[in-house]
Point group: C2
Chain length 432, copies 2
């Protein structure tokens, strides 16, 4: 009999040795994750959870973003997970459509801090956990997402368990019980999008991951085949049991193709904004007579508000965000998306020259743009699935962090993430 | 537009005034719940969770069964929920097939102790919460259960939220957000049955109930229609949206028909054991030549092990448990179900004279028995759905508690539950 999904993920979580290319991306995602967490620390969802966790108190094990003292690892994972997803500016993996870092890194960091783990072991645990979440997400398949489940919460929990369990030194059998426990805890619905429930999902997954791993370390018995067994997590949650989730596991690291956000607005607009950013220097806004945008039709129901009235609505408007980029505004800053910007006469005039069309010949991650000026027509295209050159990605993530936190703090953060992950240093910067 | 399910349950949770008959049953269930919790406090699942919670520590808010000090309400609910379901000896409601008390009472007690709630307010909150869990279970329907979800965990969470939220003084709007959060947290699979995952479900529900209610009290925003909205909890979890869940809500208290366990074995055997217990005094075991048992066919795949080899297997054997009752053994004591009993020659001889048959004309809660002795045939029947006379139920639950805890401790427990619920007194007895 071939090994079941739970046992395969458990074995991988315990034994995998990441490749250097994946480790490099993980270090960049650590910077990006921490910048999003610190940047989101004062959002209402983060404040509410932090206030609750601080009031509950407990053993000083792990650092909480925006709090002076330490709290139990589980509580730290809850707050840090939600805070890092509060701005919705963290990384995304399109293989399963989920945000791997916000569920996995907070669990890994909290347990690493608690256990006094080796810095490299922490980074590898986070990477292995993120890889488990993406691959389990592929195993669950699109049906799981389309039915209404939020992979950040569901697949994310299994990744958080893998990361936390690896740092706790679980053997493969204990890891299977920990993942089996996750099978009966995993939850999170897309119908919460637009509410605090969405960032809470990341915290739920991170905190439950810490708890499931800790219980398995103490001898807890669950179903060690809980993911794939009859009436297990897969069949009860519209999982497709797609064997592609295991393709090349251990050799190929899907996390290498994680996508970082460089615009503080809906991910569906990003290919357009990248294409326009590449030509914006050559365009004088007052001379633009028409802007034509082509995207995959799926985005037309997501982020094509033609005349956004508020800053929040602007984040879901191809036309206004395109106008912003052409006008030289920095769409990488959340503060750019104000109600005033949505009403600004110059931006509105430019917005009204933008036309958006669907083209199902395009990938979901791709866009084409065509800008007609007084004396010429400029065309460009972009696919956000295309990998960045290493130095470009590094520079852009450092710039994004500086935009969120200021240059000095971002520089300090890069020291303890991109340069070489440091558990204590990263934890200290979270505390503020 | 008619009011949605979440809003209806929220309004009920905030405003309902229980009837006296339901309050009487709740007081009995408080005794039964506490006896099960104390009796289960040293089971491995309870020890592991308690050790973890004690290590995490935190603010001294609520009592934990078997621990000297207090812990945060959420942690107390987690441990007490799992401990009270560890023996699988707690109450069951057959309208939705779930164990309402083990998810709801721990949440209510922990929050009541934290808030210094009025004793009567605590009991009413527990009752309203239990009623919400049963009615939400009816709304979800059999399809939810058959698909693989464990209502004790899923419906139980909504009940725990209702109880905790009521004690926190949530208004109807806040309660809807708390229930909406529960919609994105509720989880628990039947495939965990036979592992520590099953009792963990009760603790998960109780703890998450405390957390969701506490977050709503702090202003957390979720989907206030999260149960019934598109891709809400109902549609994503095979919920039938059966309007019967609301029939007579506020007037009729379904919790009045909760079923208490009086035998420390599978609930499927109980109708048979009750029928036999009623005639056992008239039977001399050595004179029995045949015992015929008729039950609903659904139980034949659940608890009809013909020749159980162990004490645990004996709990799932109509034939051996029937022999035990006819031989005068006390099936109300878990200690009766030993490996030695399963091998005892006299019991085995009696067991081998028992024949079991399915009869789909019987209710799932009913059984008929026919005992042929040397000189006569005795017939009896029982339906565990039939209500007990008030004094009989009271006496049997006190006797059950005495069997679990000894007469003195059971008497003290009855004082702070059946006589008049007392938060502080009940909490003190849990601590031991």
């Amino acid at each position: 009999m071939s090994m079941g999904a739970t046992a395969r993920f458990a074995g991988f979580a315990v034994d995998a040795v990441p490749g250097e290319a994946a480790r490099r991306i993980l270090r960049l995602s650590l910077l990006d994750w921490a910048a999003c967490a610190i940047g989101g620390a004062d959002e209402p969802v983060a404040r509410i959870l932090r206030d609750m966790a601080v009031e509950d108190g407990g053993r000083a094990e792990a650092s909480v973003v925006g709090a002076v003292g330490r709290l139990p690892a589980r509580a730290a994972a809850l707050v840090n997970g939600a805070a890092s997803h509060a701005l919705d500016f963290d990384d995304t993996h399109f293989a399963h459509i989920g945000h791997p870092s916000v569920a996995v890194i907070p669990a890994a960091l909290a347990v690493a801090e608690k256990m006094g783990a080796d810095d490299a072991a922490f980074a590898d645990a986070a990477l292995v956990g993120a890889e488990v979440s993406v691959r389990l997400g592929v195993w669950l398949g699109r049906g799981h997402y389309q039915t209404g489940f939020h992979q950040t919460a569901t697949a994310g929990l299994f990744g958080a368990v893998a990361a936390a369990g690896r740092l706790l030194g679980l053997d493969a059998g204990q890891m299977a019980h920990a993942l089996g426990l996750a099978a009966t805890r995993a939850a999170g619905l897309k119908s919460q999008f637009g509410t605090m429930g969405k960032p809470y999902h990341a915290g739920m997954a991170a905190a439950a991951g810490v708890e499931c791993a800790a219980l398995a370390a103490r001898g807890f018995v669950s179903r060690p085949d809980g993911i794939e067994c009859a009436q297990g997590f897969g069949t009860t949650h519209a999982g497709g049991a797609d064997a592609a989730g295991f393709d090349g596991m251990g050799e190929v690291w899907l996390f290498e193709t994680v996508s970082h956000k460089f615009h503080a607005c809906c991910h569906g607009t990003h290919a357009v904004l990248e294409a326009l950013a590449g030509i914006a220097d050559a365009v004088v806004p007052g001379e633009v007579s028409a802007v034509e945008i082509a995207v995959h039709p799926r985005w037309l129901s997501v982020c094509d508000l033609p005349e956004p009235a508020t800053g929040l609505e602007a984040k879901f408007s191809f036309r206004l965000t395109a106008a912003m980029v052409l006008a030289g505004l920095d769409t990488g800053l959340s503060g750019t998306f104000t109600d005033a910007a949505a009403r600004d006469p110059a931006l509105v005039a430019l917005r009204d020259r933008v036309r958006v069309a669907g083209d199902d010949g395009l990938a979901e991650t791709a866009a084409r743009v065509r800008v007609t000026c007084v004396d010429r027509v400029i065309e460009a295209a972009h696919d956000i699935a295309a990998p960045f050159a290493a130095d470009v990605l590094d520079a852009r993530l450092r710039a994004k962090a500086a935009g969120l936190l200021g240059a000095e703090r971002a520089g300090a953060l890069a020291e303890v993430t991109v340069e070489a992950p440091q558990v204590a240093g990263l934890a200290a910067l979270l505390r503020g």
